[in-house]
């Protein structure tokens, strides 16, 4: 088990190195930082002097190694716009995004399993056909359109739910304010969560359905029937456990992807998270912040996937993590 963890850690480091390299290469090629820093009224000599001081005239490799050295110590550069460390800026926005992803994940997990199982058990029933039809629609409509549509229906026409912002959040600790502590917070996070879930949910319903239908054709399900086992137990113990094994793997990747999808959702709902921040940073050509965002998102990806692999090893008895380290 420990050997496996160490191995995974090395893989994670390799991935992070690759991400940081790409991130840094972007920074190096995205315009002149001096223009953002000092404006146009400074003379060329002063500029050269500043470049030397900032190390911008060093070779690419020297600059990259310096960048890496700083990054390891938690310094991902300073945001041009906010004039504070880029990582701090992101950390202030991170909780809002993570809560949004959590909200969407709760919706996806809570609905995809029952819907997927139902449509697999009764593939020809009318509700199944409606669910499958709706899932195609859900996958096909882009997130921002779903979001705008929901704002129009539930905020503008019906006045049921607020259309933007986080509303009345409750402070927990550090930079973390939560939406899940009071009714106003729940009301604000509901629409963005649904919008964010609108693509992943149908995907998972279809994935679970397809896996479940395959498992239901298996010999061991037939054998369980031949033993006189109750259908409820066959579906939810024999079949579902086997169904969820591949779903867990896909799920890990999708949670990471969802962090990226938040850019659209947060922009439409003016959600003060890091996706919204990223788009603003792009508009302001705030390069250090863009690079820091890429690295933080890459880091979230790597961490969730490592955790998912560990969970998979615990759930699937045929995977022996202790032996995989060797």
């Amino acid at each position: 088990m420990l050997a496996y963890l160490v191995k995974r850690l090395f893989q994670a480091i390799a991935v992070m190195l690759a991400i940081s390299f790409i991130g840094f290469a972007i920074q190096d090629n995205l315009g002149d930082p001096l223009r953002e820093l000092v404006g146009q009224s400074v003379s060329e000599e002063t500029r050269q002097q500043l470049r030397d001081e900032l190390g911008l005239n060093d070779s690419f490799l020297t600059q990259y190694v310096r960048f890496l050295g700083n990054a390891v110590q938690g310094d991902l550069g300073t945001s041009y716009f906010f004039k504070e460390p880029a990582l701090d800026v992101i950390m202030k926005k991170l909780p809002a995004t993570l809560e949004l992803v959590l909200g969407a994940t709760l919706i996806i997990v809570g609905l995809s399993v029952p819907l997927g199982v139902y449509t697999a058990i009764k593939p020809n029933s009318i509700p199944s056909k409606i669910i499958m039809g709706a899932s195609i629609v859900g996958i096909s409509i882009p997130v921002f359109l779903t979001a705008i549509l929901m704002i129009y229906v539930f905020s503008v026409e019906l006045h049921w739910l607020p259309s933007y912002g986080r509303g009345d959040v409750v402070h927990v600790f550090g930079y973390w304010d939560t939406n899940f502590a009071n009714v106003d917070g729940w009301a604000h996070i509901l629409l963005p969560s649904i919008a964010l879930a609108s693509i992943m949910l149908p995907l998972f319903v279809r994935l679970i359905r397809a896996e479940m239908m395959e498992v239901l054709q298996s010999e061991y399900v037939k054998y369980a029937k031949a033993k006189g086992i109750h259908p409820g137990r066959i579906y939810f113990v024999h079949a579902l456990k086997n169904t969820l094994l591949p779903v867990i793997t896909v799920g890990g990747v999708q949670i990471g992807t969802m962090v990226a999808y938040t850019i659209l959702t947060e922009t439409v709902f003016q959600w003060p998270g890091m996706g919204f921040m990223f788009l603003e940073a792009v508009n302001r050509v705030d390069t250090p912040l863009i690079v820091a965002y890429l690295i933080v998102v890459g880091f979230i990806f790597v961490v969730t996937n490592t955790i998912v692999d560990l969970i998979y090893g615990l759930v699937n008895p045929t995977v022996n993590l202790a032996r995989m380290g060797a």
Binding site: E219, Y220, A226, K227, G228, H230
Partner: protein
């Protein structure tokens, strides 16, 4: 009063544009504790017979007509819910490949306990005690430890022993074993068969053994059905069928056994293939491959007749028998 009595059982498969007959009016009986072999080529309807008895045909297959009387009760038309107390309890099944019959994510103990608890009100501890006892009966070493193990931690032979133990858990009256050793190593096949025979005789359990191996049938069973293209073409005491087969198909099967051929010679085989379910000829289904076939064989379907201690479905059995005798005396 027999344990199982099957009359004119017909199973059909509803395909997109037509309905094909997979089992055509088969009838047979099985007494308490009796062992019956069903032999035939792949696709002859052996396994379908087994699944039809358990009412486990999956779509598009269905029982079209006929009756299955088990322990004095008609079970052919029962729903899944009505069949559940019978399955695994009064009538158990052993599947072909033990590598895929056990659920990979549940322990042996969980799978045995759930079977007991599905049919009897037992605590987990009591159910585990019964499971351990049954595992011991099938000669599983240190059965207590096996309960916590997953199927992938055990060998194929071991798994099939466990499946046999599971079949015996609720002391059923009938075990249907569908080619129980096909997926196993040759060295283990004999052990498993011997074990199955021993347990069936000592517990007075009826056995329907589905196999394509005539050698196994001759050692294991008292009576045999020979199936071809969804029909029973010959039925009788195993000894009679092995020693004095009447139907040309059965004769072909026995001649094809390696024991019937001298070393170095090619094995004798029956020419041609069994017809697919969509293309069964009108007359005798075996006629296209039969060297004795006459016009009548191709036109009308042979009725089952008693001949020389067996039941056989062949027009020409009389003439054939004499020809074979002449051949042997010549």
């Amino acid at each position: 009063m027999s344990l199982l009595s099957v009359r004119d059982l017909t199973v059909k498969f509803a395909m997109r544009d037509q309905t094909v007959t997979a089992l055509d009016q088969i009838s047979f009986d099985l007494g308490k504790g009796e062992r019956l072999g069903i032999v035939g080529e792949s696709g002859a309807g052996k396994s379908i017979t087994g699944f039809a008895l358990m009412n486990l045909l999956s779509r598009p297959g269905f029982i079209d007509s006929g009756s299955i009387n088990f322990e004095g009760r008609e079970i052919a038309g029962l729903s899944d819910k009505e069949m559940r107390p019978i399955r695994g309890n009064r009538m158990a099944m052993i599947f072909q490949d033990p590598m895929v019959t056990l659920n990979p994510v549940l322990t042996i103990g969980q799978q045995m306990v759930e079977t007991l608890q599905a049919h009897r009100k037992l605590s987990k501890a009591d159910a585990e005690q019964i499971s351990i006892m049954k595992l011991r009966e099938v000669y599983i070493p240190s059965p207590e430890d096996r309960l916590g193990q997953y199927p992938h931690e055990l060998s194929g032979g071991m798994r099939q022993r466990i499946v046999i133990a599971m079949a015996l858990l609720l002391e059923p009256e009938l075990i249907i074993a569908d080619e129980p050793t096909t997926a196993l190593d040759v060295t283990i096949q004999a052990d498993i068969m011997e074990l199955l025979l021993e347990l069936c005789t000592s517990n007075m359990v009826g056995l329907i053994l589905i196999t394509h191996d005539l050698g196994v049938v001759s050692q294991m069973t008292e009576r045999t059905l020979v199936m071809y293209a969804g029909r029973i073409i010959e039925a009788g005491k195993t000894r009679e069928i092995i020693n004095d087969p009447q139907h040309p198909y059965t004769q072909g099967l026995i001649n094809a056994l390696p024991q019937q051929t001298l070393p170095g010679q090619r094995l004798k085989q029956i020419p041609g293939n069994m017809p697919g379910l969509t293309a069964i000829p009108d007359g005798c289904p075996f006629a296209p491959r039969c060297q004795y076939a006459i016009d009548n064989c191709r036109r009308t379907r042979p009725e089952t007749v008693s001949y020389a201690n067996v039941e056989v479905a062949c027009h020409e059995v009389n003439r054939l028998h004499n020809t074979v005798l002449e051949d042997q005396s010549a």
